[in-house]
């Protein structure tokens, strides 16, 4: 705000633009919690009154709870697997390998392929191989889409990781395995935590892959999609959406905080800016 007085007209124009930008980004999202507290079946202004009955209905919905549990299990397994695989890939990709850029491109390609394409492709592959559609097949799909996120987060932590630290550990008598646990892992921990959180959210948010691969074990987004067929369930879905929104936002913020904390720590440990 201080800049407003300083830059006068020019600054005010920018402020208006920034405000419009934020409104465009967040108003649609904020409608969700707004109507989730509205005492009416219909999503329309004016609001008719405050209620928490939709949240109460939500907490009593056994199918929803089963779907939530499915989503949490899939998210946990998928984030663990993709972070482990991403860690190995990131460790290799920070080295000056021949064809490194190409490898990195391939590893991250799934970011740029429409999920519906990945979903259909996986559906064909998994049914051809004969794996029954279940949470297991959803995990396979989610690992695929989560790996690029894990690689990118972990590589940013590996950048500037002094390779001589691992050599020093070997020199001081530790095996490669113990070196990983005593040096690499603790120094990578902030990156690993950030990767776990981020990949968990990617899995948690995914509708498309789960829709194709979950069979009868619905995950939460697939469950929500199903509920939308019943108009009277809409406010409950809004309540659920609001809850997910808040949990997601908190997790993303936390993941970013951990990652930055790690970067600041790494910079500090290398004696930068001290």
């Amino acid at each position: 705000m201080l800049s407003l007085s300083k830059h006068g007209q020019h600054g005010r124009g920018l402020a208006v633009y920034a405000l419009a930008y934020l409104v465009f980004l967040y108003v649609p999202v904020l409608l969700l919690p707004l109507f989730s507290f509205n005492d009416s079946l219909f999503i329309a202004f004016p609001l008719s009154g405050f209620t928490i009955q939709w949240y109460a209905a939500l907490s009593e919905d056994a199918d929803m709870r089963a779907a939530l549990l499915n989503t949490l299990s899939v998210g946990t397994v998928a984030s663990l697997l993709s972070t482990i695989l991403g860690l190995l890939a990131a460790k290799a990709l920070i080295r000056p390998l021949p064809g490194r850029a190409l490898l990195l491109g391939f590893a991250n390609l799934s970011l740029f392929i429409p999920e519906i394409v990945i979903g259909i492709a996986l559906l064909i592959l998994i049914t051809t191989v004969g794996i029954p559609l279940s949470l297991m097949s959803v995990v396979i799909g989610h690992v695929l889409i989560c790996i690029p996120f894990a690689i990118l987060v972990l590589m940013s932590r590996f950048e500037g990781f002094d390779a001589s630290l691992e050599e020093a550990s070997r020199d001081l008598g530790e095996s490669a395995w113990m070196t990983f646990w005593r040096v690499t892992f603790p120094l990578m921990l902030p990156g690993i935590v950030a990767s776990l959180l981020l990949t968990f959210i990617v899995s948690f948010d995914d509708f498309m892959i789960a829709f194709f691969l979950c069979g009868t074990d619905t995950t939460l987004p697939v469950y929500i999609f199903g509920e939308l067929r019943f108009p009277y369930k809409l406010p409950t879905v809004l309540a659920l959406g609001s809850a997910i929104l808040i949990v997601s936002a908190v997790l993303v913020a936390f993941a970013e905080w951990v990652r930055r904390f790690g970067l600041v720590g790494a910079a500090r440990d290398r004696g930068i800016g001290v």
Binding site: D162, S164, L165, E167, A168, S169, R170, D171, L172, G173, E174, S175, R182, V183, P186, L187, G265, A266, R268, D269, R270, G271, V274
Partner: protein, 363 residues
């Protein structure tokens, strides 16, 4: 040699792609010796050190330590320890845990382990620094922690990869003295990699001069400076003036060389060197061996002209032109020795040298 070699590097070669990083290096290092590998960057000195430490495996040849062939032994199983160029202090551990890091595998009772760490902290004079983290240490302190962390393992051989390179000049000079004293106290053989010839000269018992993967000469600092074996060594260590010439006669240990710039020169041969009469040779003379004077001196002298005079406080540098010389000759004179007299550019002077000044080198 009579000395029993504690470390033997036997015909070691290492190739990276098209470059031969180390080319058939062969030499021995004595017990308790401070041995330096000296050369410009890319000469293979660090590669050789890393092979001794186990971080690279030679393509051919063997490395023997205390009678045991360690060529293929991984770094964690070798009785060697390394001080890395970046120091590689573990940033997530404090000073005490950094120093104790390598003791985990030695399964010592807690009291002994603590005693060893305390002893190491006292050795590097960082008592009370136990709980400091890497980022709270200065460059010199990190360097000492890295040293203590390696020495606490009681290695048979300590490897140091340009450990003073990151320090400022004053601290580097202090650490040179400190490191040398420490080495005498612990009595462990040190192999010290550096590109700084002054550092190597001031600290080492012996120095191996390397260039393009090859060991050019191994000698103590005085021999290396006073009697370099080749032009490359003479050029790398200090400043040297070279004069091309032809060996015309031999009388015992004294060779007579005909040069365009300095006319007839009598050069004492090193025992063991042989040159036949008529061979093309190189005469090398250090800048400080020359004397400038206005009056004709008693020693062999020639007329010369001062081109550039540079005053450096304790001494002065002159660039001198003489007829027949390829380029200017560099002369260094202590300012106290000239009695405060200065030589000015364009002045005509006598350039003389003592009998033991010129060195004979293969052309």
């Amino acid at each position: 040699m009579a000395r029993e070699d504690f470390v033997r590097i036997e015909n070691v070669s290492k190739r990276f792609g098209a470059t031969l990083a180390v080319d058939r290096a062969s030499f021995g290092i004595g017990r308790g010796e401070f041995f330096s590998l000296l050369g410009p960057s890319g000469c293979g000195k660090t590669t050789l050190l890393r092979m001794i430490g186990g971080f690279a495996v030679p393509d051919s040849g063997a490395i023997v330590l205390d009678g045991e062939d360690i060529t293929a032994v991984p770094p964690n199983k070798r009785p060697t320890n390394m001080v890395f160029q970046s120091y590689a202090i573990f940033p997530h551990l404090n000073v005490r845990d950094n120093i104790a890091y390598g003791l985990r595998n030695e399964h010592l009772p807690t009291t002994e382990r603590n005693a060893r760490v305390a002893e190491a902290l006292a050795m590097i004079r960082l008592e009370g620094y136990d709980t400091r983290r890497a980022h709270e240490l200065s460059g010199g302190e990190r360097q000492r922690v890295a040293l203590a962390r390696a020495l606490v393992k009681r290695p048979k051989l300590l490897l140091l990869d340009e450990p003073l390179g990151a320090l400022d000049k004053r601290l580097r000079e202090a650490m040179q003295v400190e490191l040398r004293q420490l080495q005498r106290e612990v009595g462990i053989s040190f192999i010290f990699v550096t590109h700084d010839q002054e550092e190597a000269l001031s600290m080492s018992d012996r120095i191996a001069v390397m260039e393009k993967g090859r060991v050019l000469q191994i000698a103590d600092p005085k021999t290396l400076y006073e009697a370099p074996a080749t032009r490359a060594v003479a050029d790398f260590i200090g400043t040297m003036n070279f004069f091309e010439g032809c060996l015309t006669a031999m009388a015992g240990e004294i060779a007579t060389v005909e040069t365009r710039a300095l006319n007839h020169l009598h050069v004492a041969m090193h025992p063991g060197t042989t040159f036949g009469a008529g061979t093309r040779v190189l005469v090398a003379i250090r800048p400080e061996k020359f004397t400038l004077s206005r009056e004709p001196p008693g020693a062999p002298a020639i007329m010369a002209r001062v081109i550039v005079a540079t005053y450096l406080g304790d001494r002065s540098h002159f660039q001198i032109a003489i007829e027949g010389a390829a380029g200017p000759i560099i002369v260094s004179a202590q300012n106290s020795a000239t009695g405060g007299r200065r030589f000015e550019p364009e002045e005509t002077v006598y350039l003389s040298w003592p009998a033991d000044g010129p060195i004979l080198l293969p052309a």
